[in-house]
């Protein structure tokens, strides 16, 4: 009897700790859903800053569900028409009008820079992969501007093919992400995504201005600034196809 009681305790103890994990996972899932919506359409600018130059590109983005993303550059003219299509978690294609070719980014290149920015090919897709392939722990909560902020550590599961050792998200109680830290396998912080401005857009509070900063390089960063945002509009499925990537009908 004693033994079975101990056994019961053993059986249930992981469930108890897993419960707090579920909480943290829910927050992450809600943050991703908040970020992506069922579908989304956005118009934004990306600014890449380097010690001796700065460059701004305008682009349009579409997303559908948790996995599909399409980004198309609209300006400057030299880069206009370049597009990136993300399907699932690891399938990324790039289209370049100048040479009229679609190139599949090999999975070994997923952590390489996306269009010369501080975002990697992986970052740009921002799929819901983080929800299922990571274990999440709520580390602590903070109060900020009348909001509660959840600080959540996400560690990739053993079998997940993910380059990071750990990610730390600061998520506000209205699911706006304030900060996202990327840590390497030695748990050293590599880069930090910070939200600089939050506004109501597309019917929800949204991080409309974000900056990705490589650590210890203050003069190298990439900023995203969102001008237009529309959620849950009708987005045809053909948008996320290779033929549309090459011959846009958007």
């Amino acid at each position: 009897m004693k033994y079975s009681a101990a056994l019961l305790l053993l059986l249930f103890s992981p469930m108890v700790s897993a419960e707090s994990g579920t909480d943290a996972r829910d927050i992450i899932r809600d943050a991703i859903n908040h970020y992506r919506g069922l579908t989304s359409y956005s118009e934004m600018t990306m600014t890449i800053h380097r010690p001796d130059w700065e460059r701004t590109m305008s682009m349009n983005g579409w997303s559908s569900g948790g996995k599909k993303t399409l980004v198309r550059v609209t300006a400057p003219p030299r880069d206009a028409g370049n597009a990136t299509l993300v399907l699932d978690d690891n399938k990324v294609w790039s289209f370049t009008p100048k040479i009229n070719r679609v190139i599949r980014i090999p999975s070994s290149m997923m952590s390489q820079s996306w269009m010369g920015s501080d975002f990697s090919n992986k970052d740009i897709s921002r799929t819901d992969e983080i929800v299922d392939k990571y274990d999440h722990t709520l580390v602590r909560t903070e109060e900020s501007d009348g909001h509660t902020v959840y600080i959540i550590e996400s560690i990739p599961q053993e079998e997940a093919a993910i380059v990071w050792g750990k990610e730390i998200s600061h998520v506000r109680d209205d699911y706006v992400e304030l900060e996202h830290h990327f840590l390497d396998q030695d748990l050293e912080t590599v880069k930090i995504l910070k939200t600089l401005d939050i506004q109501e857009m597309g019917g929800r509070m949204f991080a409309v201005h974000q900056r990705m900063n490589m650590l210890e390089k203050d003069d190298e960063w990439t900023e995203f600034s969102i001008q237009t945002l529309d959620f849950d509009r009708e987005i045809p499925e053909y948008l996320f196809t290779l033929s549309n990537l090459r011959n846009p009908r958007d």
Partner: protein, 409 residues
Amino acid sequence: MTNTTTLLAWRNIWRHPRRTLLTIAAMVFADVLLIFMLGLQFGQYRMMIDNSLAIFTGQMQVQAEGYNDEPHMYRSITAADALAQDIRERTQLDAVATRGYGFALVSSESRTLGVQISGVDPLHEPRVSTIPGLISQGRYLGEVDSNEIVIGSTLARNLKIKPGDELTVLGNGRDGSIAATVAPVVGIYESGSRDMDRHMLSMPLDTFREVFSMDDQAHSIIIGGARDQGDSIAAAARDALQQRESLVLLDWETLMPGLKQAIQADFTSAWFMYAVLIVLVAFGMLNTMLMSVLERTHEFGILLALGVGHGKLARMIVTESVALATIGMLFGIACGALLVGYFFFNGFSFPGMEAMGERFNIPSVLYPEISIRSLLPGPLAVFITTLLASLYPILRMRKLHPIEALQAV
């Protein structure tokens, strides 16, 4: 009296000519082996360095400050061609070439790989790099602005392409814009260097500049020339750099730290083997000297009884071993120099070296080095350890008492 000691020592040496000759032979053998090995080793290192540098790196390079540590595309040299021309004039050297480097995704019909791209000047590149001469299929790049690509053999295999096929290049330009081009592969090279054959693709410099938005910029000016004139070339190149800001001249040790470390590691492990050889010879010498002292105990007794001091006896034994060691060293150096000299002119090779040479990028015929650093250290080490070995018999002899000595058989 000193002459008597020397004379006695000389005669003692030749009392057992066969033993003496054998001891000398052991020393000579060790010396020759050491000289040969060291000469071969230094010759091999020299060739390894020369050949490694000749493939792509050159003797030295001009780069923007910081580029070598963190090769960001924007860390580049402005008006690079003018600077290269200036260096050419000041060093009176043709072997000066300008290059740009980038990273891009390269796609064939069936594969996409991340590849290092170098933009090279087809006119000057053959003078600083062996790659243009190692084309195994097709041809090397033609004009500085033609739209074509040469590619390493392993990379060609991985991309499943042959000369005539097109490659798509997609990366980012110096200003962050999207760099993309499609160009035919005109040649495939086989440099023997794994890195070069697997990860590298070259296109003409001006084409590279256009694709990667480089204007008149470049990332590196490669300076070739003979390594033994490195100092004067470097001085002339530094003069050219004086009017420019934030550029640095880097020597090959900085450019290829791995090469230097590999050589040092190899040399250290080799010295361990040499030390063992030297110690073995020393023991042989110890044996000879000990025997010759022990067998003469009776004789030493007589000398001591006649009033010859311990000091004089010690001097005699020291003279014997110095004489032996000197003869051994002189013959050793002479024979070693002869042997190394023979291979210096005729080259040295052994079976299986071709495969090894390919792996470490050294030619299959080696030419040993003849120099003070290859000829002297080995024999000197043998000489010194030999003298040290003869100390023990002398210390024994000093305790010798005439009466006891006379009673010894």
